[in-house]
């Protein structure tokens, strides 16, 4: 019997090629790796199906709520790229979210521009531009900038924008800009409801797939190096500061897209949207769901918002305290977020090389 097994092992060729179904390692770990490898797509699939079905089972007012959550999930993705993947501590992500919101609100109010093909690119561009400016200043020094410098710099940016918006009459001061005209496509107007929901979900899926492509490319490997040991990869010859500025700008663009959708969905923008509160909120989404996984950011946004919604209905006075405790528990016991209940470290980090279909002969 052992002889036969040996023969079987020898007949399995070590085949190297571009096959996507990777089974790596000696028999025992191969099974584990193959089994572990499947978790992430399953989670992604379940979340997608749930998101597609949601408006069919939810009451109307809940579909409106769910639309808001999907937009915030898009915003969470932007922060996850910047922090979870590149390790840049941005405490001012709302700056890009909110400034794009204000930008499209002004386009609608002052220029009557509400066409979806104009306002969404405009919002994205606003987020990108602000992120390039702030990121260029904070990250593109000749020598790497410290974590404290970057986190305080982004925090200050967000806080300053909040104060500016509150004080500036043109931007509506404390009240912000109310009753923004709905986003339009030809004669059609997107108002709250299932159409808006599926629009936003479609955008989230597209952005998600683009992010997924990015973080699994060789650029994603460079990002993994960046977040684990920036100094080490600089000594290899990577322009670490450039990598950071690029990912920061991409994050800003996505936050801008989310912010413009948010402005049109809510129908108004107000100073909080650029400020520290919303900046912190997005940190919590990603911490809660699991930083460094794209789906973790989405799940975090959904759960934090969902739980807040439910708690505020049922425990009107003390719900922020309960939510705070829940968050603390997760951060204490699950520093990698809720996703780490089902997702192993190896799969979270992933592999970047040529996918190899290899069955090694165990010694």
């Amino acid at each position: 019997m052992p002889k036969a097994m040996g023969a079987v092992k020898q007949t399995i060729p070590a085949e190297i090629g571009g096959d996507m179904d990777a089974a790596v390692g000696s028999s025992g770990t191969a099974a584990k790796a193959a089994a572990g490898r499947k978790v992430l797509p399953i989670v992604e699939g379940v979340v997608l199906v749930a998101a597609l079905l949601a408006p069919l089972v939810l009451q109307d007012y809940l579909t409106v709520f769910a639309t808001r959550v999907i937009i915030l999930a898009l915003f969470a993705l932007s922060f996850d790229l910047v922090w979870g993947y590149a390790g840049i501590m941005s405490f001012g992500q709302a700056l890009f979210f909110g400034s794009a919101g204000y930008g499209v609100a002004l386009l609608a109010r002052d220029l009557d521009i509400t066409n979806i093909f104009l306002v969404l690119p405009a919002g994205t561009l606003i987020g990108l531009t602000f992120a390039l400016l702030l990121g260029g200043f904070l990250l593109l020094g000749r020598h790497p900038s410290s974590v404290i410098f970057v986190s305080l710099g982004t925090l200050t940016g967000s806080y300053a924008a909040d104060r500016l918006a509150r004080g500036w009459y043109y931007l509506g001061g404390q009240n912000g800009i109310p009753s923004i005209a709905p986003m339009s496509l030809g004669g059609y107007e997107f108002s709250e409801g299932p159409a808006f929901y599926y629009l936003v979900l479609g955008i989230l899926v597209v952005v998600y797939l683009l992010c997924r492509f990015l973080v699994r490319s060789q650029f994603g490997l460079a990002l993994a190096g960046l977040r684990e040991n920036e100094q080490r990869i600089a000594f290899f010859g990577y322009k670490a500061q450039h990598l950071k500025a690029i990912i920061f700008a991409i994050g800003g663009a996505i936050a801008g897209l989310a912010g413009s959708l948010y402005a049109f969905h809510e129908g108004f923008v107000w100073p909080n949207m650029v400020g520290v509160v919303v900046s912190t909120q997005v940190v919590l989404y990603v911490l809660f769901g699991g930083s460094g996984t794209l789906i973790g950011a989405v799940i975090g946004a959904v759960i934090v918002e969902g739980v807040s919604f439910w708690l505020s209905d049922n425990y009107r006075d003390i719900w922020p305290i309960i939510l705070g405790l829940l968050l603390l528990l997760v951060i204490l016991f699950r520093p990698l977020g809720l996703i780490s209940f089902v997702l192993g470290e190896r799969e979270r980090v992933g592999s970047f090389g040529v996918k190899i279909k290899e069955t090694r002969n165990a010694p």
Partner: protein
């Protein structure tokens, strides 16, 4: 000369770590940097690698003054470094660790569209095979023994085909057998790369180096071939004093 560091002075507050130290390394030369504890070996390495900026002095590499270069610029000029504390990326596989080092100078476009991924595969496997790690290519680097992590890091430092490799205590914490293998692994790189090596194990240094520089209290005490240094009275004295 490949590397010329001259008149290097480095002051940390009240402590003068280097006081006019110098180091000259030719092409395809293995150069050992030795001296008692606190003589400034590691600091001199850091000044050459760009981890520290010297207070005074000049470092030139392939006839270019690189004193003010950042680590990234030095790496792109052909200098590579293995840190004293192993700093492989523990959560990545061995394969990805090497790939990360190999693609450091790829363009952004190539990185995003993974255009070099297939082309670099053979190089990754060659490096892993050369350092006897090929059978563990898809394990996380954290799973390796200390000695193997050191080899992985040397392999990563060599991946970009540097002209000069700086090794800070490559055999620290290794068993006798692992030290012997490390020596064997380093020999073949002489064909295309020079080496500066800081090491406490004098037998190891004697076996693989062509020339030695001895530092004492931040100054060069002696510099020459291995036999010249062995015959040098003042060198014997500081090592006897320590013993």
């Amino acid at each position: 000369m490949l590397l010329e560091a001259a008149g290097i002075k480095k002051v940390f507050g009240k402590l003068t770590a280097l006081d006019g130290a110098a180091l000259t390394v030719g092409e395809n030369e293995f150069h050992g940097l030795i001296g008692p504890n606190g003589s400034g070996k590691s600091t001199l390495m850091k000044c050459i690698a760009g981890a520290e900026v010297p207070t005074q002095g000049k470092v030139s590499f392939v006839n270019t003054d690189i004193t003010a270069f950042t680590p990234t610029e030095r790496a792109r000029a052909g200098m590579s470094l293995k840190f004293q504390i192993t700093s492989v990326l523990p959560t990545l596989t061995l394969y990805d660790n090497i790939l990360l080092a190999l693609q450091a100078q790829s363009s952004l476009f190539d990185l995003v569209f993974s255009r070099t991924r297939g082309a670099l595969h053979d190089q990754v496997m060659t490096m892993l095979t050369q350092f006897r790690l090929a059978d563990r290519a898809f394990d996380a680097a954290a799973a390796l023994s200390h000695g193997q992590q050191q080899w992985l890091e040397i392999a990563m430092a060599l991946a970009g085909k540097p002209k000069l490799l700086l090794l800070d205590e490559p055999t620290g914490g290794m068993s006798l057998e692992e030290r012997r293998v490390t020596g064997e692994l380093l020999q073949p790189i002489k064909k295309h790369c020079s080496l500066v090596i800081v090491e406490h194990d004098l037998d190891f240094i004697r076996d693989i180096c062509d020339r030695l520089t001895v530092l004492d209290q931040g100054k060069v005490l002696a510099s020459g071939t291995v036999s010249e240094i062995q015959a040098n009275k003042s060198v014997q004295e500081i090592y006897l004093r320590r013993a």
